[in-house]
Amino acid sequence: MSVLVNKDSKVIVQGFTGSEGSFHAQQMIEYGTNVVGGVTPGKGGQSHLDRPVFNTVREAVEKAGADTSIIFVPPAFAADAIMEATDAGIKVIICITEGIPTEDMVGVKAFMKGKAARLIGPNCPGVMTAGECKVGIMPAFIFQKGKVGIVSKSGTLTYEAVDQLTKAGLGQTTAIGIGGDPIIGTTTKEAVELLMNDPETEAIVMIGEIGGGMEAEAARWIKADGNRKPVVGFIAGQTAPKGRRMGHAGAIVGGADDTAAAKMAIMRECGIHVVESPAMIGDTMLKALGK
């Protein structure tokens, strides 16, 4: 078991023939991900990386049985790509693209309401199930199949957590990069819930940052759910000034509730092992698991 993606996932790449799409598709294939093809409108019928190129996602679903998509198309076209995948019946849509206008994502969220697809991202490193399937841009060699699930708004902080867990001998089940934009498909709470219900996942690392209320929502859910598994949490941006956007479009302190301090306080109240330094994630997880 694992969540979202596994060795049976049939993955297509939207923006397959572009430079980013090509590079990361190659890396995913090398890891053993079952990439069944890609979509580049107008290049259907061609072959790329020994895989078929389709004109539409619908065609990729019908002819190659795709159920998972990873999106590398430029920001101006990414919202359209997400909606196309949704409409075609893709189950898990992972959007890597950074810089999508917020108003476009408002439309995407409304479009996806009531439909079966789950969106991860945008502006995220993707999803990876250690030892099985990589649908993202993360460095695979730092992963080690194990017992800890990860939910994170940040790419490189995910790698940091993964690396510490590997070195602590704990390894990972699935790492979910949910993205750093103000509007994202899968929330912190939804991703945590997936891992909480995954029998292979024994503990969870939850990494958030300033801005919005997703971490507080997740923390309250974890408590209400009975703290079934230990959760180690970190919030980046304890030193970020109010009203300034810190790289990620969503990382901005608006009021008193979305500061790192406020989020960390709620997480502590809800029984999460909060670390102030991201260097302590691995050690704290060892302690939380009683090792």
Binding site: A110, T156, L157, A236
Partner: protein
């Protein structure tokens, strides 16, 4: 992207939102000319002179070393000249600028809209922003014009009317009516308010705004509804489809180092601390700032060099960080995924040599792809650079360096 009040009002006017009319001026002479024109048009001897800076609280703000307020009523042409002289070229300190203040380069000479008449003048508040949790826009209106909306929300939340907008169909007339009724409008003012809200929302969506704050929205004594101020932010990610709005960027309002960084495609935010940092990834960059603080220092900046850290970006980053005189040490923190640490290490060494003598201690933490190789390159370079691999090790080295400052 932040824009000025006069630019925000230009946008509103284009969408049929009534505004307090005005003319922007960059010198006292131009301000006087503008005032004469407005006085003739409005048949009034009064105009308002408003400093144009990217910060709120201008009305209560004060010019450094003087008594001039940032927004002032002029009762004559001579008044206009005096006020404009006091403002233009001088530094205005408001509750939002911090003690260093912001230089005023332009003033908006605007019509006086608080004239007496048949009914009472009333100030209100209307804001539009994204509700992240509901993934849709929300219009917030309050009868408490001129006040900070956060304060109203805290003390008298019942005075705020909120309408969430369904993105599939947009703002509906019943919602605009609810807001107008909620603000206590009747008769002609009610009709005006419905039109005001409707056009305001259209402007918000069509310009890809990320925030509108109209405070105050004024009901004049002859029952017109107008925007007296306009705080407008545009979504940076959408500027590619609004070339006209992109021209509204005023780099004189930004920190010069931030302008230089953005020209080099670096994501940099200047802070007040003593330890500079250079990191790949926004989340790790924030976390690195936090580590600096936990190690006894204060972060001097946020700097995300992105996924393609190489000699060129590292050098640009170094140069920008070193221009900040407060920086007494630098921490470079790279988690190499696709980026190889040995390449970054070579980049650091090349950049160091290109710049010449770097007068502050540098700690380079390289982790991930080829980390050991990267550390070896740093250690063997002969430069005064300390290497680290684990994040905790980097934190300890920062602690030692900060303690020695």
């Amino acid at each position: 992207m932040n824009i000025h009040e006069y630019q925000g009002k230009e946008i509103l006017k284009r969408y049929g939102v009534r505004i307090q009319e005005g003319i922007v001026a960059e010198s006292p002479e131009k301000a006087v000319e503008a005032a004469k024109l407005i006085m003739a048009q409005t048949n009034s001897k009064f105009v308002v002179v408003k400093s144009q800076i990217h910060a709120g609280g201008r009305g209560k703000g004060q010019i450094k070393g003087g008594t001039q307020r940032g927004v002032a009523l002029a009762k004559s042409v001579d008044d206009v000249r005096d006020i404009a002289k006091n403002l233009i070229g001088n530094v205005l300190v408001t509750i939002q600028t911090g003690p260093e203040g912001k230089k005023v380069n332009k003033v908006l000479v605007a019509q006086d809209v608080y004239y007496p008449g048949e009914s009472e003048v009333k100030e209100m508040y209307i804001g539009i922003l994204l509700d992240r949790a509901k993934a849709c826009n929300v219009i917030m209106a309050s009868t408490e014009g001129g006040m900070d909306i956060e304060e109203v929300a805290e003390h008298t939340p019942e005075k705020i009317v909120k309408e969430w907008i369904d993105p599939a169909v947009g703002l509906q007339p019943f919602q605009a009516r609810k807001i107008a009724f909620g603000l206590g409008m009747t008769g002609e003012a009610f009709k005006e308010m419905v039109k005001f809200v409707t056009n305001l929302y259209k402007a918000y969506v069509e310009t890809d705004a990320s925030m509108f704050e109209i405070n105050p929205v004024l009901k004049t004594s002859d029952n017109k509804i107008m925007a007296v101020d306009a705080k407008v932010n545009i979504d940076d990610n959408a500027l590619y489809r609004h070339a006209d709005l992109a021209n509204y960027r005023d780099v004189t309002e930004e920190d010069p180092l931030e302008v230089e960084a953005s020209a080099n495609d670096l994501n940099y935010v200047k802070l007040d601390g003593n330890v500079g940092c250079m990191v790949n990834g926004a989340g790790l960059a924030m976390a690195t700032m936090d580590i600096i603080k936990l190690s006894g220092g204060e972060p001097a900046n946020f700097l995300d060099v992105g996924g393609g850290a190489n000699a060129k970006t590292v050098e640009a980053g170094f140069r920008i960080i070193l221009k900040d005189p407060n920086v007494k040490a630098i921490l470079i923190n790279i988690f190499g995924g696709i980026v190889r640490c040995d390449r970054v290490a070579t980049g650091v060494v090349e950049a160091y040599k290109a710049i010449g003598n770097i007068p502050v201690p540098i700690i380079v933490r390289l982790q991930g792809t080829n980390a050991a190789e990267g550390a070896r390159i740093i250690d063997e370079s002969g430069l005064k650079v300390q290497s680290a691999v684990a994040l905790s090790e980097a934190a300890e080295k920062v602690r030692a360096v900060v303690a020695a400052l």
